[in-house]
């Protein structure tokens, strides 16, 4: 008996005191760490309208052990699945991580409508239950390109995060993939919390030992005006192109529209894969591309003459009152009054005038060789143009912004017309590159840059980098770089004649279609030559002339000349934004725009 007691004592000493194995095993048995996912931040528009919130969705759960006495046929017809699928799903709920006495997902992310159809009958089926969950939801269904979407982290991104990143994510985490969701991922996602539970034999959490609360993500207060955004998307139906509107005084982007667009709700929830594939591959119009920032190979056309005039005046190669003959032998033009000063030249968008202006900018006579002279000239010109935010990447808070192109000497030396066979050093001069003078040639500009140009003229010489987020968090502020003024190389005084000219363009020039009776709109049309198809229609504007509230660029691909569709759309946007209600004239214009059949007429382009 004493031997037995001694054996017991030694054994107890071993398992309770000397050996820690069973303590570790006990912890494995009893403790359960749970990650608490913070709520992802919401996105609001500039007026506090909810842009991105949550959708209620419902998961149907099954506990296979409890599935008893149910009418399978009725169940299958209610859930619209086959008997085979039903059995497969039940079996899946018993395999791997799933065990038959614990609930697992049977059907994922049912919409509220689907759920309300089956909910009254759910209680008839033993072992089935539902769970409410949230998905990203978009009440307005607009601005898909700006907002971006959220998706389960990709294998690549996960391994990057683990290997070289901050090791934050789990494999089941959701991350922002594009748009603001991506740029502001860290602000939106919040901070994960965790809780420690004691669980019982069946794996239920019974006692909460400690809890580190999750910190919800910050809300983003964007600069978008959702009503204007929605209106712009409506106007762009059946068209290809972009609208960008900026508040000049702050650089805040009011709308950023890429047409064709799509409903962001398509990329949330169960149908993601199917919808994404459709958007990416099956649509020849490529709705997934964010044109206003990504398409930087648009030639600006005549709107570039504004930049040419400003630079030329600043450089002193012309004055406000310099006149040139409209010599159609130099470059084609239409019939108009004599361009005796900059204003008239802009008003009529006189091509020969700006040919002369550009010639003076490029060949300044500082070198006797025109080749060397052009090289000097283009470098100077290039620097000036870049100060307008052209040919340089704007640091806007959306992924995929492209820089566009303002050619320099190096470009013609080494890259144009092709990298394998460029012009070469001192093998080109003004006469080779004069198409740039009227915004054709080798210039590439994105619609965002065009709108920024309108904002620069509205501000008479400076801009804030266009951006989309006004405030990070309720009491937060925008990123500091967006509070920095960027000055152009043209002095403020040279902007007055240009603005006056733009007023005349709308009043009685090429953009009479953009006229609004109660507001002075300053605009400039552009018609970008297009060899394969109709010309592209471009229009930039700001309004009102005094204390401008909105600067806008509209680019309608294949929209023929700028005065037709782009100007009309821009004026409707301005009217809607500044006056909220359209005038009678405006309503007529709106109808014309909505009825326009730009795409339908031509079915065979790519």
């Amino acid at each position: 008996m004493l031997v037995v007691t001694l054996v017991f004592g030694v054994r107890l000493l071993y398992i309770q005191v000397l050996n820690d194995d069973w303590k570790i095993r006990a912890e494995q048995i009893t403790q359960h760490k749970v990650t608490i996912h913070p709520a992802r931040g919401f996105l609001y528009d500039r007026n506090g309208e909810l842009l991105v919130a949550v959708n209620q969705v419902y998961d149907i759960l099954v506990t296979p052990k409890d599935v008893k006495d149910i009418d399978t046929a009725q169940f299958c017809s209610l859930f619209d699945i086959s008997r085979k699928e039903f059995l497969q799903k039940i079996e899946y709920a018993c395999t791997g991580y799933n065990v038959s006495y614990k609930a697992s997902t049977f059907i994922e992310s049912m919409s509220k409508e689907e759920y309300s159809r089956i909910a009254p009958n759910l209680k008839n089926f033993n072992g089935f239950d539902s769970r409410r969950r949230t998905n990203r939801g978009y009440p307005y269904g607009v601005a898909a390109h700006v907002l971006g979407y959220v998706r389960k982290i990709s294998a690549e991104q996960y391994s990057e995060d683990q290997n070289v990143g901050e090791k934050y994510y789990n494999q089941n985490d959701y991350v922002g993939v594009t748009g603001l969701e991506k740029v502001y991922e860290k602000e939106l996602r919040g901070e994960r919390g965790s809780a420690f539970f004691l669980r019982d034999y069946a794996g239920n959490d019974r006692t909460n030992l400690e809890e580190n609360y999750a910190i919800a993500g910050n809300n983003l207060y964007t600069s978008l005006d959702v009503k204007l955004q929605a209106y712009g998307e409506l106007l762009m139906t059946n068209k290809l192109g972009s609208i960008v509107a900026i508040e000049p005084a702050t650089g805040e982007i009011l709308t950023l529209i890429s047409a064709p667009s799509f409903d962001p709700n398509k990329l949330s929830g169960r149908e993601f894969s199917k919808n994404y594939k459709e958007l990416l591959n099956n649509d020849t119009l490529k709705p997934i591309i964010n044109r206003p920032i990504y398409n930087d190979n648009y030639r600006p056309g005549s709107i570039f003459k504004l930049v040419q005039a400003l630079i030329a005046m600043q450089e002193g190669v012309i004055t406000e009152n310099t006149g040139f003959a409209c010599n159609k032998t130099l470059v084609n033009c239409h019939n108009h009054e004599h361009p005796s000063n900059v204003q008239i030249a802009i008003k009529h968008s006189c091509n020969p005038y700006f040919y002369q202006v550009y010639k003076r900018l490029i060949q300044r006579g500082e070198e006797s060789s025109i080749f060397k002279d052009s090289r000097l000239g283009i470098e100077k010109w290039n620097a000036s143009v870049k100060s307008f935010g052209l040919g340089t990447k704007l640091n806007t808070d959306i992924p995929g912004v492209k820089p566009g192109r303002i050619p320099d000497a190096n470009y013609y030396d080494n890259e144009f017309p092709s990298k394998s066979n460029p012009y070469g050093k001192h093998r080109w001069a003004f006469s080779t590159i004069y198409s740039n003078s009227i915004g054709e040639g080798e210039i590439g500009v994105s619609p965002l840059q065009m709108a920024n140009l309108a904002a620069i003229i509205a501000n008479k010489g400076y801009y804030y980098t266009p951006h989309l987020v006004k405030k990070i968090g309720k009491d937060g502020s925008k990123r500091p770089e967006y509070l920095q003024k960027n000055y152009t190389m043209a002095a403020a005084k040279y902007f007055d004649p240009v603005a006056n000219a733009m007023e005349m363009v709308v009043e009685n020039g090429t953009a009479r279609a953009a006229k609004i009776d109660s507001i002075i709109v300053c605009g400039k049309t552009g018609t970008v030559q297009n060899e394969t198809f109709n010309d592209h229609s471009v229009f930039i504007a700001f309004a009102p002339k005094e204390n401008p509230q909105i600067a806008i660029a509209v680019y309608v691909e294949y929209g023929t000349w700028g005065g037709v569709w782009a100007a009309k759309i821009a004026s409707l946007m301005i009217e809607k934004y500044l006056l909220k209600e359209l005038s009678e004239k405006g309503k007529k214009k709106e109808q014309e725009v909505l009825d326009a059949l730009i795409l339908d007429k031509h079915s065979d382009f790519k």
Partner: protein, 443 residues
């Protein structure tokens, strides 16, 4: 009357009564902690395990006090009647509806009564009575046979329930026989039989093959062969070492022993294949370490050891257990067979060591009491009590701490279960009563 009561109380063995009460109280507290719930914290609740346990303890103490008022001679004379009644109950209970697959319980209201718990003291009484009868000698074959039947009748009925765990306890009477003059060789023989049997099952369960000079044998055949060789070797050993005149008897014993061993191995193999069910086989495999299976059969043992181990040196504290209680249920049967886990988890090594010391002290005290009796009846009954309690204690703790296969028998005074606590209490109080009159009566 008053005088008489005073008389009895004055003569009751205080250390034994004290240890008994301490163990019962500790058991109750452990059951209380294990099934405590915040929703209904009151201890007196019949819906809860501890409520019922408290009722049973109260009943046990009342009956115990009643036993103290009985005359010793009355107890002695009722021995066969009690034995008969309990045997009858064991017979009747076989016709009761099965609970958890066994016909072991009478169900009366919310309470269940398990007559096999009473069979322990009833059989003890009967054996004590029989062996203390004048003229009965343990050395006689007739006596052995009668004692065997006294044990075998209830044993057989219990096996029919079936309840092999309780049946096992009846083997503990062998210790009593030994004390009363049974040859030590029989005890030794049984010990050998157990060792040979366990090894036979081990080799059988392991399904190991042995390669002997290119011949592949199943290990259990090799084992048989070894026993044969051993017998032969012992035979030659006798020839060379033992004087001729003693050889004949030794040869017979050797050959008989060897044959018995071979038969035992054969029957173990046979039983392993046919009588044992898979669950029994699995238990052996887990115990022999042939299988570390924490989800299946090894689950109980794994969970129990985790609970005990997690107690550490000083325990988690009363009510602080996280494995062995009704809320978490990681340890199965924690309120009955595995109650030691609750204790060890909450009080740690200090507590569990203290408990085995208490048990040992308790058992030693019973043996001391038995040894100081002039009455043969009381001595035998005392040894019966000690043997039964020792068997329970040994098998239960060994099982819980992973030294024996899982055999379902309770830890006396601790495990929840009314009949058990009542049966053990009756035993202790009979012993106390008999002991209290040791100086009055010469028998």
């Amino acid at each position: 009357m008053e005088n008489r009561a005073k008389n009895i109380i004055g003569k009751v063995d205080v250390p034994l009564l004290g240890l008994f009460l301490v163990l019962v109280l500790a058991g109750l507290l452990t059951v209380y902690s294990g099934s405590f719930s915040e929703e209904s914290p009151q201890i007196y609740s019949l819906d809860k395990a501890y409520g019922k346990q408290l009722v049973w303890i109260t009943i046990s103490l009342i009956i115990g006090v009643l036993i103290l008022t009985l005359e010793g001679s009355f107890i002695r004379n009722s021995a066969y009647i009690v034995y008969g009644l309990v045997t009858l109950m064991l017979l009747i209970v076989l016709f009761m509806p099965a609970i958890k697959g066994a016909h072991s319980w009478f169900k009366i209201g919310g309470f269940t009564i398990q007559p096999s718990e009473f069979a322990k003291f009833a059989t003890s009484l009967a054996i004590a009575h029989f062996l203390s009868t004048t003229g009965v000698k343990i050395q006689e074959t007739k006596t052995k046979m009668i004692v065997f039947f006294l044990i075998a009748i209830p044993g057989f009925l219990i096996l029919q329930q079936p309840d092999p765990g309780t049946l096992l306890v009846f083997f503990s009477f062998i210790f009593v026989m030994y004390r009363e003059g049974l040859s030590g060789n029989i005890l030794l023989g049984m010990l050998f039989a157990i060792i040979i049997g366990v090894m036979a099952i081990f080799f059988k369960a392991s399904e190991a093959n042995v390669n002997v000079f290119g011949w592949v044998f199943a290990a259990n055949y090799l084992y048989l062969f070894i026993i044969l060789i051993a017998t032969v070797l012992i035979h030659f050993g006798i020839t060379y070492l033992v004087m001729p005149r003693y050889r004949g008897k030794k040869y017979i014993i050797n050959i008989a022993g060897g044959t018995m061993a071979l038969l035992l191995v054969f029957s173990c193999n046979y039983a392993y294949d046919t009588v044992f069910k898979d669950r029994h086989r699995d238990r052996f495999e887990v115990m022999f370490g042939l299988k570390l299976d924490r989800k299946g059969v090894g689950y109980n043992s794994y969970q129990a050891l985790s609970a005990i181990g997690s107690g550490g040196p000083a325990g988690k504290g009363y009510f602080k257990g996280t494995l062995s209680n009704d809320k978490y249920k990681h340890v199965p049967e924690q309120s009955t067979d595995f109650i030691f886990c609750s204790w060890a988890e909450e009080w740690g090594f200090l507590g569990s060591f203290l408990l085995i010391i208490l048990y040992t002290a308790f058992l030693i005290r019973i043996i001391m009491i038995a040894e100081r009796q002039k009455s043969k009846f009381t001595r035998i009954f005392g040894y019966c009590t000690a043997s039964i309690l020792f068997f329970h204690y040994m098998i239960n703790i060994a099982m819980v701490i992973g030294l024996a296969p899982v055999i379902g028998i309770p830890l006396p005074f601790f495990s929840k279960g009314g009949s058990a606590i009542l049966g053990f209490s009756i035993m202790i109080f009979i012993l106390l009563r008999m002991d209290s009159e040791r100086k009055d009566v010469l028998r």
